[in-house]
Subunit: 149 residues, 2 copies
């Protein structure tokens, strides 16, 4: 099992702001993908416009602790993502809202995992920008990092 | 042991361009840190200007295969980095120069590793920009991702 790990901080922001950006449709649509919808009480659907067609994930919300933790399980998506878990751990460090990120449970460190690791970093920078400036870069206006988008 | 993994691609670029950016002082200074120097035949020194003072790494070049591979061992730097290995594997996929990146051998998934994972992603995007536009964002003009820089 191998994990993707990241850490970002948003200046002049609070963990409550970060928590809202991770638990509301408007918040999530502001940094990850504009095409974010609630499909059940505890399932959020994320769809992405890519050159190769539409793609995306459904996340079951397993745990939420205001200002502290958001924990999802991938219940629909590419085979490599199915059953993996995504955790956002929040901490206030002075003026900074810190997000510790883990996408855990990958079976193998395949090339697609390398791609997703880099892509997560750019989306977390988008989250930071949303918290600091009010405007992130969600799909379809996300940063192109390679031929895989 | 845990690894940091990334994948980026530079459009209209060749693996030879990427190899030059990973094996020459000018190339490395164009995307990672401007303060890059050769300190021995097979050791490259990277220093970074940070709010908390100067920091950096010395890398021993273990393997180089033109257009294919660059492999370093960290011989000086923060304790968490010492003895870890960094690999850049290059592949031409049509018009794209693909870089598969691995920073392997971390003992524990500490918060600093989370930070370095995100930071590597932003520097690899800087490498992509250097290859595509002739201009990257090396330290001290790198992207600030948190209170840790």
């Amino acid at each position: 099992m191998v994990d993707i790990l990241h850490r970002i901080g948003a200046e002049s922001a609070t963990v409550d702001d970060a928590y809202a950006a991770l638990t509301t449709i408007d918040g999530l649509a502001g940094w990850w993908t504009e095409d974010t919808t609630a499909v059940a009480d505890d399932v959020i659907r994320f769809r992405f416009t890519l050159p190769q067609g539409e793609d995306g994930f459904d996340m079951k919300v397993l745990e939420t602790e205001p200002g502290k933790l958001v924990h999802w399980e991938v219940v629909k998506g590419p085979e490599e993502w199915l059953g993996t878990h995504i955790r956002f751990e929040l901490a206030q460090e002075g003026d900074w809202a810190i997000v510790m990120f883990r996408h855990e449970g990958w079976k193998e460190p395949v090339p697609f995992m390398h791609h997703c690791s880099t892509k997560w970093a750019t989306f977390l920078v988008s989250l930071k920008e949303l918290l600091e400036t009010g405007k992130g870069s969600p799909n379809p206006n996300d940063l192109l990092i390679s031929d895989w988008h």
